[in-house]
């Protein structure tokens, strides 16, 4: 079953086409990878999907709902959560507060319920706290649950951001570079963690630079180049696809040569 369907997505900034007429699907229950060289339109694509950018053209459907014109908060409430490339968390909150900020567990609670601490709020809060405890246990930050998030390391912050998405019981989570800047020895742990969350029913769309991480983890891989979908398929076929090797790896090698030449 198709969970997310992108049809004809286009976005340009001042005449530069970041994404051009791109269409793809994310199937329910999969871990789908989205790779591509720098500037291929990956981040623009997910910003458009999650409502942080307004697409120039194209439709986006989550299950059978058109989410193309919704603002980010409504998309989140529809069950599509995301993380950010440069990690975003609430530095002034402790870990528990970071997770309790997510609205999903409080969907039926009104402002008055919150202000007067009515029963409906207390119920929701109790359940949310339990869920937050589980999410923090899952990502292995239990020891720090009452600590201010500001003291976390970069990798720990990424784990916290991931745990926050778990609060919403999401249909789909989009991760923007979950292992960039993370200690290489921890990358496999994160892959294992994502597999575990996936097995319990969460679908992932993961944007990454780390091709090895993606091809090891994903069921299905999408390759973007210059704003277009260049190829898609199983990791094995992608790894041997001539166009991908040419466009993606060729460019990387070119870039390596360039930077080596500069030094």
């Amino acid at each position: 079953m198709t969970l997310l369907e992108i049809a004809g997505l286009s976005k340009a900034y001042r005449g530069i086409h970041a994404v051009r007429n791109t269409s793809f699907r994310v199937e329910q229950g999969t871990i789908t990878g989205l790779i591509g060289p720098n500037g291929s339109g990956k981040t623009t694509t997910i910003d458009c999907i999650t409502g942080f950018q307004q697409a120039d053209a194209g439709r986006i459907r989550l299950e059978d709902r058109d989410i193309s014109d919704l603002p980010p908060q409504r998309i989140a409430r529809a069950g599509l959560l995301r993380t950010f490339q440069t990690v975003r968390i609430y530095d002034d909150f402790d870990l528990m507060q970071n997770l309790l900020a997510v609205t999903a567990p409080f969907a039926d609670v009104t402002g008055w319920d919150m202000f007067l601490r009515r029963r409906r709020f207390r119920e929701a809060h109790r359940q949310a706290a339990r869920r937050a405890q589980e999410a923090i246990d899952l990502v292995g930050l239990t020891r720090l649950i009452d600590a201010p998030a500001a003291i976390l390391s970069y990798g720990q912050k990424k784990l916290l951001a991931l745990a926050a998405t778990m609060m919403a019981n999401p249909k789909l989570v989009i991760l923007d570079e979950p292992v960039a800047g993370v200690d290489p020895t921890r990358v496999n742990d994160i892959a294992e963690l994502l597999r575990r969350i996936n097995r319990s029913g969460t679908t992932f769309l993961i944007v990454e630079h780390n091709v090895e991480f993606i091809t090891n983890l994903c069921d299905h891989v999408l390759v973007l180049e210059q704003g277009r979908l260049l190829a898609e398929g199983a990791p094995k076929t992608i790894r041997t696809d001539a166009r991908v090797l040419d466009a993606y790896l060729g460019r990387e090698r070119q870039a390596e040569r360039d930077s080596a030449g500069l030094q």
């Binding site: 908060q73 968390i89 609430y90 002034d92 507060q97 609205t103 609670v109």
Partner: protein, 314 residues
């Protein structure tokens, strides 16, 4: 628990203060203190929690003051009804203006709210048929509530005290509720908050309107203390006073602001500075606080705790 105990102690001390202090001067300072701390706490809701540096508070203060005075003099309303009218009018104006203002970016927000406050001052001065212009509305009646006249400074002290306790109580309940948490989340990282399903606008608008209502109400009560309202009621001095309490206490810290307010009212008075010299000191405090401890007294404690934790974990 310790906070509850200290609060109870402070409340008890303030409740019996007029039994020992008979100086009208001191009582008058205390009355101003109560009113200003409420305004600072309301500004703290908007700036400290919602992250919006709003100079419009001065406008709402003036709107409240004029609304109450006009309601009681021209409208022949009672004291309580006038003050409620002041709060309501400030809230309605905040609601109508808040939506377009809150859609701008933070540079524009500061400039527009500042201009709004200036406009209020100009309206007070120029809309002579309603506000009496530069002369203002003098000799306001003694406030009476259910037949009880708050005629003496001591009685007015208890009125201001009760208002402060009520208003601060509401604000405390609010900022410690989930609404306070969400406001702080929006302030810290609006994009993240939106990605987690939080709609910023209703919360910001709510903070803006409630802050306006409480400030308007405070202004409405304060004119009965002054017994006159004129365009100097919209002097920038009031805004500077509210701001200094918030900045010194630490934007976003309820207790920090209340304590800073109490200190800043009491200290310069105790030292018997003239008004000008007090404002110079406020200015110095503002500059130094912004350079040395940009998050106020509360921020200093917060940073200490963070460093201690980091040391422990390292």
């Amino acid at each position: 628990m310790r906070v509850a105990g200290l609060t109870a102690l402070a409340l008890a001390a303030l409740a019996i203060l007029p039994l020992f202090v008979h100086s009208n001067y001191v009582l008058s300072i205390a009355i101003s203190g109560f009113i200003f701390v409420v305004c600072a706490a309301a500004l703290n809701l908007i700036y400290g929690f919602a992250g919006l540096l709003s100079f419009a508070q001065l406008g709402f203060w003036g709107i409240g003051g004029y609304a109450a005075a006009i309601a009681v003099v021209d409208g022949k309303l009672g004291f309580a009804a006038s003050v409620m009218f002041a709060a309501l009018l400030a809230a309605v104006i905040a609601l109508v203006t808040g939506f377009p203002i809150l859609r701008t970016n933070r540079h524009a927000f500061v400039i527009v709210t500042l201009t709004f406050a200036l406009l209020c001052a100009l309206v007070a001065r120029d809309w002579i048929s309603v506000t009496r212009g530069p002369l203002g509305i003098p000799s306001l009646p003694v406030p009476t509530f259910f037949g009880f006249a708050f005629a003496s400074p001591t009685r007015f002290y208890y009125l201001a005290f009760a208002f402060a306790v009520l208003a601060l109580g509401i604000l405390y309940a609010l900022v410690t509720s989930r609404i306070g948490l969400l406001l702080k989340a929006i302030k810290q990282n609006e994009a993240l908050a939106r990605s987690q399903g939080i709609s910023p606008m209703p919360y910001k608008l709510f903070a803006f309107v409630l802050g306006a209502a409480l400030t308007g109400m405070a202004g409405g009560i304060y004119v009965f203390h002054l017994r006159i309202v004129d365009p100097t009621f919209l002097d920038f001095y009031y805004m500077q006073t509210f701001l200094i309490f918030v900045v010194l206490g630490g934007a976003g810290s309820f207790w920090g602001v209340v304590i800073a307010g109490a200190l800043m009212v009491a200290l310069p008075e105790a030292l018997r500075f003239t008004n000008d010299l007090r404002m110079v000191i406020y200015g110095f405090v503002l500059v130094v606080a912004m350079l040395v401890m940009p998050r106020g007294i509360a921020g200093v404690f917060h940073d200490r705790r963070l460093n201690a934790l980091r040391a422990k974990l390292a």
